[in-house]
């Protein structure tokens, strides 16, 4: 985290002079100097960095150079949109990718299997902006059944705004989620297929066949569960990637999330916002890895007892 903070700081320290962006053409030189002083931009870099870290640690992410709003406020108002989008994309990717992967493994060599293979090929080779544009063209222009931009109506719950509670909100989620999740879906499907084939070859599956357990039981109770571990790891790590990928999707769909905010802040050299965005994405990466690890302990008894063994 600190490393990411350092990178974010260094990156944006030299990106450009924010003062140039903030002041008007007619402002005097004295005003510029005064503004620099107030923003602490005249201090040496290490001092600025320490202050930056200290501020971040206390939750003070600074003030947007452009809107003069506190960055934290700005980001937190946009965060729900992105998180809901990424969440739906993940659900979509897992919910479709796992069954497809299992089908591809079980029906390998038959047309169902080939169909699944073809789907992944398409998914993996299409860039996100193209998928997005194509989907908009199909479902918003040719058949105008789904909205092509924005979040629709949202409901406020505390500081969180959700699109889950209104029809237009839910409808608006569909296209961006599919667009964002498609790449991850193909990853999950291919991984699931590979893991499943691997597991089906293993000795304990053979022994289960030899004990006369039903094929359905062997496939869906034993093989599936044994194949799921790596898939969970990767989707966990991909969750972070989705957060990053959401920049493109949010731009295509004008989704009012942090990704779009980031794109806007880059255009405006709004350094505090950019830095804060990176910090928050990094924070999510770390949190999610932790959650995935905890999930492991839940699923795999070998790790559980390893933990107890170490404690004892």
């Amino acid at each position: 985290m600190t490393a990411v903070g350092a990178i974010a700081f260094v990156l944006f320290h030299y990106v450009g002079d924010p003062v140039e962006m903030m002041v008007g053409v007619e402002d005097s030189a004295e005003m510029r100097v005064e503004l620099r002083e107030r923003l602490g931009l005249n201090d040496p870099a290490p001092v600025q960095f320490i202050r930056f870290i200290g501020d971040v640690a206390t939750g003070n992410l600074g003030v947007s150079y452009r809107t003069r709003q506190p960055v934290a406020e700005l980001i937190f108002s946009r965060l729900p949109a992105t998180l809901e989008l990424v969440f739906c994309a993940t659900i979509f990717a897992l919910g479709t990718g796992i069954p497809l992967g299992v089908a591809a493994a079980l029906y390998r060599g038959r047309w169902t299997g080939y169909l699944a293979d073809l789907t992944t090929l398409v998914g993996i080779s299409m860039p996100t902006f193209m998928t997005g544009t194509l989907l908009i063209f199909l479902f918003a222009v040719t058949f105008p059944i789904l909205p092509s931009f924005g979040r629709g109506e949202v409901v406020k719950i505390g500081w969180w705004t959700t699109g889950f509670l209104t029809v237009s909100g839910l409808k608006s989620l569909i296209l961006p989620s599919v667009t964002l999740g498609l790449f991850q879906l193909t990853m999950i499907m291919r991984l699931m297929r590979g893991e499943m084939l691997e597991t089906l070859r293993s000795d304990f599956i053979k022994f289960q066949h030899a004990r006369g357990l039903s094929t359905r039981r062997i496939h869906f109770r034993h093989a599936l569960r044994n194949s799921l571990m790596p898939v969970i790891t990767v989707s966990g790590m991909q969750f972070g990637a989705l957060l990053a990928f959401s920049i493109v999707t949010e731009s295509v769909f004008q989704w009012p999330g942090v990704g779009l905010l980031f794109v806007q802040s880059v255009n405006n050299v709004d350094v505090p916002v950019m830095a804060a965005y990176l910090m928050i994405v990094a924070a999510f990466f770390v949190t999610i890895n932790l959650v995935v690890d905890l999930l492991y302990y839940y699923i795999d008894p070998r790790l559980k007892s390893g933990l107890q063994g170490r404690r004892a």
């Binding site: 304990f204 004990r211 006369g212 039903s214």
Partner: protein, 327 residues
């Protein structure tokens, strides 16, 4: 000697693998019987087709492999042409199978109890609590201490020997009539091997079960098997009473195997006493597969394939033995 119907009777069993351009025949017209309560050993060096033969009996040859047989009967009932559902009810219920490696034979994500109860419920009309108490009984029988706690254990919490005991319990869940044990002790510590073999023999004797014991350890065969079938390059080359075969082997290959019978429990010398190597499956040749390595081979051996013929009390596929010179 076989007056009553044998438990298992195999006639002309072949296992082949379809490959791109040709078909490899890995087991060739194997025929043998297993009597009630009998222990039949199958020996032969690595790649001889022992595992394929035993798996073919329960229809567990993975594609592209396929089985051909004149007949395989279990107590007189043909089982070689059953549908997937019927053969599944034979597996586990009529024929139990034990694999070589106890470390990888159990599902790592399920407890011992889960796996036992699941298997019991598949074959017997019991409720879960009944299956549970049967699982405990089984664990006691295979000599696992504190069985009730063991039910909650995961496979990785048990030692190799313990795991193989669990595997045996799993194979015996439904009181099968025949147990096929494919090298059940190869992966285990030498000191535990004898225990596991003894356990297996005791359990089967008690229940009147028959065993097919696959191994490449002549020492195990000599101690455990009533009869022995020797396989070489996908064919059975000699079948006979263990005593007979050990003392007075007819086939030159068997005699080579007998060259060094290690005592059970000692480190095994692999069956490399005979120079040369076994022809790989799919190699085309006429005559006897062993001719190239055989010390007493004649011209006939290279041109004409020997058939399994009665010589005294056993069956031997060898021209030399049949003509009485090699005996």
């Amino acid at each position: 000697m076989m007056t009553e119907t044998p438990i298992l009777s195999v006639r002309d069993l072949s296992v082949s693998f379809a490959q791109f351009d040709r078909t490899i025949s890995a087991v060739h017209t194997a025929s043998f019987d297993v009597a009630r309560g009998e222990v039949l050993g199958i020996v032969g060096e690595s790649g001889a087709g022992k595992s394929l033969t035993s798996m073919a009996i329960v229809g567990l040859i993975p594609p592209p492999g396929y089985i051909e047989a004149t007949s395989i009967t279990l107590e007189g009932r043909p089982i070689h042409n059953l549908g997937p559902k019927e053969i599944r009810s034979v597996r586990g219920r009529d024929i139990g199978v034990i694999f070589q490696d106890p470390l990888t034979s159990l599902d790592p994500l399920f407890t011992i109890g889960d796996q036992l109860i699941e298997t019991i419920c598949t074959h017997l009309p019991l409720t879960v609590p009944e299956a549970r108490s049967r699982a405990i009984d089984l664990l006691i029988e295979v000599g696992i201490p504190a069985p009730e706690q063991r039910l909650q254990s995961y496979p990785h919490e048990l030692s190799g020997g313990m795991r193989q005991r669990v595997v045996i319990a799993l194979a015996l869940c439904a009181e099968p009539k025949l147990v096929i044990a494919d090298e059940p002790t190869t992966a285990l510590d030498v000191s535990i091997q004898a225990q596991i073999i003894a356990l297996l023999l005791r359990l089967c004797r008690e229940r009147g079960m028959s065993i097919i014991l696959v191994t490449h350890d002549m020492g195990v065969i000599a101690e455990a098997a009533d009869r022995v079938a020797v396989m070489y390059a996908g064919r059975i080359v000699e079948v006979g009473k263990t005593r007979q075969v050990v003392k007075n082997a007819r086939h030159p290959y068997t005699r080579g195997l007998m060259g060094a019978i290690p005592k059970i429990g000692q480190p095994r010398t692999k069956l490399a006493q005979i120079s040369g190597s076994m022809p790989r499956p799919g190699t085309e040749f006429e005559g006897c597969a062993f001719a190239e390595r055989c010390a007493v081979a004649e011209a006939k051996c290279r041109s004409l394939r020997p058939q399994l013929l009665t010589v005294d009390d056993s069956y031997v596929a060898c021209h030399v033995a049949a003509s009485g010179v090699g005996a």
